[in-house]
Subunit: 319 residues, 2 copies
Amino acid sequence: MYRPDIKVVDCTIRDGGLANNSYFTMDAVRAVYKAVCESGVDYVELGYRNSKKFFSPEKYGLWRFCDEDVLRQATEGIDPRGTKLSVMQDSHKADPDDVLPKEKSVVDMIRVATYVKDVDKAIRLANNATEKGYETTINIMAISHEGSPFLEEALDQIEKETNALAVYIVDSFGALYSETVHYLVEKYQMYVKTKEIGVHFHNNQQLAFANTVEGVIKGANFLDGTLYGLGRAAGNCPIELLLSFLKNPKFNVLPLLDVIGKTIIPLREQIEWGYTIPYMLSGVLDRHPQLSMQWVESGGPRKHDYVEFYRQLTEDPEQ
Amino acid sequence: MYRPDIKVVDCTIRDGGLANNSYFTMDAVRAVYKAVCESGVDYVELGYRNSKKFFSPEKYGLWRFCDEDVLRQATEGIDPRGTKLSVMQDSHKADPDDVLPKEKSVVDMIRVATYVKDVDKAIRLANNATEKGYETTINIMAISHEGSPFLEEALDQIEKETNALAVYIVDSFGALYSETVHYLVEKYQMYVKTKEIGVHFHNNQQLAFANTVEGVIKGANFLDGTLYGLGRAAGNCPIELLLSFLKNPKFNVLPLLDVIGKTIIPLREQIEWGYTIPYMLSGVLDRHPQLSMQWVESGGPRKHDYVEFYRQLTEDPEQ
């Protein structure tokens, strides 16, 4: 019934950090880390290893940088039970020198997020991590805006020039449907022969979990999810749904349900995520959610005047 | 790009009535009716035409019975622009005599909801409606609990003994995945040759919209949705997502977005619907959402103790 090759990556703290400038308390991160380890999920991503040259430590929390001592504090005394620790580097906002040799680090995997135009930077970061002893993936963001022939060239380069474990389809704008997921997995499979394909979906159209399942059906083996879908804007594939679908007996969803009730639900007082009409519209129109986030956060009496918001979104002369 | 055969049914007031005993104000129903007519959606279902012998008018609101004078009040002065009016009868809780001849009614379609075991009652009600001049469908509820050979016999009977326009797959428990949707549409197609197939999905696993799209891909042509997913428990396929996906130029999503902001969002103060862990669990476990609804409505400090709720759900000796 289940496919043992499948690896699940919990990126609650990393992706959720886009919604709160990576300000999570140490207690919250330890609770998430402990629950994910107990659940049998393969990887847990605790934040970005981005550069303080690009992000001010005054403006961003600890989990935007994931210094080694911070990660040690987050994981100390908790049995990982086989769950590996991941951090993400943005191809255009990270420094290879911020990555220590693996033997001096608690990190197991470094995932590099990139746009197609920055793929050479991504390859440099991924190879830097590989050389220092880490597992790596390359995650191609904003995939619904990436077209031929540049996407194919990037896939070909990643295939030939890196030892990444997986190359990801990242639907940053929540714009994909099952048919576009199928199309993209098949396209990736034409170029990526020695690596796995990964999928990371957003929930603007309530399709993050459904599209992940479609990725599985087509052969994707690296699957991202977050607790209760926590993430920027409409959020992500809820990892509790994913584990229940996958049916691998090594997974146990109960620690995840427990930490959702105790740690994630209270976060709703600080972070607003999930399906709303402004996020639905940015997904349907295949746009960055930034304007929708501003609209949702603005509050006030016009917050639910969706016709006015639609007008603003679609009259922008630059679009 | 679009399939002109597809008919969309808005059942916000009918399905939402399961969450509030069909107590909607006349103003709310008129606002929904007007918006759906303006949007170009094919049918709007304003409630049940169930019997006062089974439902007390003291305990249930107007939209559980949809008396003709009530429907006239709801629709008076509003241009239907081609949108047809539907009501639903439960096969085991409705009276054929409550249906007037079509020429004395504002109703265009009567949909009969049934379990497989009650299919003979459903056929009687559907044929009663057909004889009196209405369009009809038969909607098989709790489809994830219906198995061979009874489901096949029911489909065969409906095909041979009725003039229903469509036979529905109704995923009452939100338990289906894309592969089970494909399986069921194909099974229906083996028996249902002269009628359309309809789909009605619940959102326990955030799959209501995704499964509707999968139904479309396999050939289902009657599609149910509700405004912002309003409905009992986890709710339904959000009709605004469905219209945006379908791309038929006769549809206009803006009146729907407008009424969502003005009429549906305020209802959240009285009705709690949408994805929560208790509904996710009833979907994953393929159970009626009743225990989950009780848990969600109970409130209090243990509301988010999902491990305890899981224990209660799974230790019940009758399950």
